[in-house]
Symmetry: C2
Subunit: 301 residues, 2 copies
């Protein structure tokens, strides 16, 4: 038996997981991340967590066949360098080289976290079996990734893909990225809460629940959100015509009411008038870890 290590490094914590041959997590642990200690000490601590997980699970360190790291930022995949990960304060950091000191002879790879989540859903989640597929994560921001012709597409220049920063309204509000009217301005948790607040809703779940119960204020917010998100998805499907779209992040847990409404609207707004499958992502918060491990394994062999 062999196994793979997957790390998902975030702005406040690091998730470390051990995955088996089928990319199921055998064990996982969340530890704190602190910008202050720098990347060398961060990697040292990450290795330490792996050693603990191995001991706790009676595994043999010699059976590690690949190590993958997911980070929230731009990545030079080929050289294993984090170009910019603002939340981590990592800039031009050669993470794979440093990590390889602890795992000599084992392939160590680096991947953007949204791409890792996409790859995880492709290998073992909602996108499994589809060679052309899209993941959109609907959270504080909008992230996502693309599977094209059966492979993770990392952007033509390797910068990754940013579906959240496709323009949906050229005269819309200025996005944090400096562009006007990005998809991110209309489809996030932030958008929902902003609309919900005057109507007395303070949680996304409350809005969805109230919409399910036909409370007019909530229904109106929900419908406007579906208009926005379906326009965003139709815009992307008109360009790429994927077989399936999976939604991740908090909003994606809204249940069938969201997916049925989206599928109907996207078909209407689609150039090809195609009934695209829109489904919830399956791996939740584990997606980054699982994807990092799976990507490391796939690239390493």
């Amino acid at each position: 038996m062999s196994f793979r290590i997957g790390f998902d490094v975030g702005g406040t914590n690091i998730k470390t997981g051990i995955a088996d041959d089928d990319f199921n997590l055998v064990s996982k642990k969340t530890t704190a991340f602190s910008k202050e200690i720098g990347y060398v000490n961060t990697i040292k601590a990450m290795h330490q967590t792996v050693m603990e997980l191995i001991a706790e699970n009676d595994l043999n360190g010699k059976d590690i066949s690949a190590v993958g790291i997911a980070v929230p930022g731009s990545v030079d995949v080929r050289n294993g360098v984090v170009i910019h990960a603002y939340n981590l304060d990592f800039h031009n950091v050669h993470m794979t080289e440093e990590m390889s000191r602890y795992f000599p002879g084992i392939p160590v790879t680096l991947i953007n976290d949204a791409n890792a989540a996409t790859f995880a859903e492709f290998k073992t989640g909602a996108l499994k079996g589809y060679d052309n597929a899209m993941l959109l994560t609907l959270g504080t921001g909008i992230g996502g990734g693309l599977i094209l012709n059966g492979r993770l597409f990392n952007g033509g220049l390797g910068n990754g893909v940013e579906p959240g920063h496709v323009v949906l309204d050229r005269t819309g509000p200025l996005c944090t990225c400096g562009i006007r009217g990005c998809i991110e301005e209309f489809c996030t948790v932030r958008w929902l809460l902003q609309k919900g607040k005057p109507a007395g809703y303070t949680e996304v779940k409350d809005i969805i629940d109230a919409a399910r119960k036909n409370e007019p204020g909530a229904v109106s917010i929900f419908n406007e959100y579906v208009e926005n998100l379906s326009s965003a998805i139709a815009s992307l499907t008109n360009l790429l015509d994927p077989e399936i779209i999976a939604l991740g992040g908090g909003i994606s847990l809204a249940g069938e009411v969201l997916y049925l409404a989206l599928e109907e609207k996207v078909e209407q707004k689609s150039f090809f008038k195609y009934p695209y499958k829109i489904v919830p992502a399956q791996l939740g918060n584990d997606a980054g870890m699982v994807g990092a491990a799976a990507y490391a394994f796939t690239r390493g062999f």
Copy 2:
């Protein structure tokens, strides 16, 4: 020596070309297209044109190694079927099968005309040497195609790609496709002429020339057009991060003034703040023919 036949079937005429090993056109001819005679007679006439070109150029029919057909519509590439080509009134027409009667034993392929133009630019024009590239044709409508990971991307489901129908303004005017605010509503010849008319301009060329001469009315239209097109391009580059974008169609002949302005604006509006190369397409009206021939050859062998 061998050569390839490329057809570009349009709503009013059919272009037929003979291309050599390097996809240079040895000879070409334009004939009329008429909806009324139906596809069987159309294909018969297309074969006749090839026979004439062969005779005129003292070629040997036995040296034909591939036949490619480009059509303006949705195409089942694998089976060589035109699904819908509204301008031709071809619906569920097995064009390659019918054409193969005249070219037994030779691969005959079918391709969407925008994809053909993209493939031509990739094989022998402005996109040559780039594995991730985009063509946008700016004409009456907006068409285009994608080269991803060194291959023509025909859409995940094979419906093709429709960059002109990515949404640029969700509350904008209704597009002919039924979607609101498509890129096509803001970047066509039609848009330019609509804006130009009240200012006394009746041709795109007049607007561009006047803008070059700093006539205020024309400068204002030109600047607004550059805003629109740069938003459209940045939106697409934020998703796909291509190495290069080529522009085709009448507007693409506007010269350096257009490309410099676009490159500057796209970099500003790009999520990656990357100075994407934006260049004119090189094959003009021959692109469909050349691409059809090149695609047939590439797929046939």
